[in-house]
Symmetry: C2
Subunit: 241 residues, 2 copies
DNA sequence: CGCCGCATTGACGTTCGTCAAGTCTAGTGG
DNA sequence: CCACTAGACTTGACGAACGTCAATGCGGCG
């Protein structure tokens, strides 16, 4: 259950430009290497942290894919996000010193453990790191605003189209195809994220296939008509095509 | 249109414990007074900032009541939050140096303008301020997680009950009644926040009245049975009472 | 091979949205 | 003091979108 710990460095990490600020001096880079205390491997299905765990560190994903999820007292839960390489998890824990959500690996993964005390310490010295931390938190706030718009005012097709476009765009940033992707999550997890039931997700996929927008084979998705998906996302109730 | 600017101090502000960290020394307090550059008055219906505006500062509400809102390209919009005295607005602007949402006063209001450069500068020196800024951002992330749960998995009654309980709890923190409140927003704005249409909000209010949970006279709400509302919030589909 | 988890599809029901009519209240002006 | 108006709110009838329940299909793995 408990993970291997390996000492590592950001300075030669190929995800550096995703996790860390640009334009650091040599000496600053040496200091920042020191922020990443260890790496930690998480097997598929395992938790990186759970609701209620003490907050100690932020986590940068090196490899693998995660979901974060919150649970209501009655057992309902809601997927609040899917995270991939270069993205940061754990920001929810800062306010109360305890995590308020679960982070679960959807495939075998490795994360960089960055003790938050060290981050705060160093960001008092390195202005660009301070700014970077603020931006990461602000970016998460803006992302969640977007999800609120999706959940509060979009219909099923719009939600799924927005979801696919967002995923493929983030994968493209990481050097993957703009048109092909492999979903790491189940229909149920997609549904939870989008505020839909898994059957609705499945039916909506089928509709997209019928309309020639995508090909779907289980979790393999090929986008045939990205513009068509974009048109769905911001077309409100226009059923005219 | 353009606001009066008055030089002021946090050190004798009665909202200090809401906006600012506790346990500051005398000299730190003097420095922090300097963070609040000016105050600014916003008339009901006016914008504090708009989507696209350059980001310069965070805003602490001194008096009044705001909504924040994001707009999709097709004109749909979504209320992302209601903010009251002591709460901080503007965090969305940090990541891209421009605001991504609108902040609109729902009643005549006054805010403290805190230039973000100054905040960053000072939080490099004052550890408790640095921690405080991080907590404020983390709190917003956690709040939005809760809204996602609400929008993604609750039914209309649960959403409205959760909304009322949240509002009254925040007002109570500020010294107002635990059972009575005046809504500063329209049914439509509540609906936008909760992902419902205004008619559904109105009907749900009426149902709560029928069930003896609340009294409603236009925007005046009296909570008669807070436990009943709490039971609705985490009762999933239990119609057994 | 057979099992298990995930996905698809259909039939049906519920919740909420839509459309429309009507009410209430505050503010205005005679 | 009383119409008059405008905006917010309420209520009803109806329909669409999505959820629920159930049957079936598919693919990977021991």
């Amino acid at each position: 259950m408990n993970p291997i710990s390996i000492k590592v460095a950001c300075s030669n990490c190929n995800l550096r430009e995703l996790c860390m600020p640009l334009g650091l001096s040599e000496s600053e880079m040496v200091q920042i290497d020191d922020v990443v205390a260890t790496r930690r491997k998480i097997a598929r299905g395992e938790h990186l942290f759970r609701h209620g765990d003490k907050f100690n560190a932020l986590y940068a994903i090196r490899t693998g894919f995660f979901k974060t999820r919150i649970s209501a007292e009655d057992g309902r839960d809601q997927v609040t996000g899917f995270q991939m390489a270069g993205e940061i998890m754990g920001l929810d824990g800062i306010v109360s010193d305890h995590h308020t959500c679960d982070a679960v690996a959807l495939e075998d993964a490795e994360v960089c453990v960055m003790p938050f005390d060290r981050i705060e310490e160093l960001s008092r010295e390195i202005t660009s790191l301070q700014r970077h931390v603020h931006k990461i938190m602000s970016r998460e706030i803006v992302r969640e605003n977007g999800v609120m718009l999706l959940l509060g005012s979009m219909r099923a097709e719009e939600r799924l189209a927005a979801f696919l476009l967002n995923l493929v765009q983030r994968l493209h940033t990481r050097g993957f195809s703009q048109t092909e992707l492999v979903l790491r999550m189940t229909r149920e997890e997609i549904g939870s994220y989008l505020g839909l039931k898994l059957e609705t997700v499945s039916r909506t996929f089928s509709k997209f296939v019928d309309d020639g927008l995508v090909e779907v084979k289980q979790r393999h998705v090929r986008i045939l008509n990205a513009d068509g998906l974009k048109r769905i996302v911001n077309s409100q109730n226009c059923h005219s095509d």
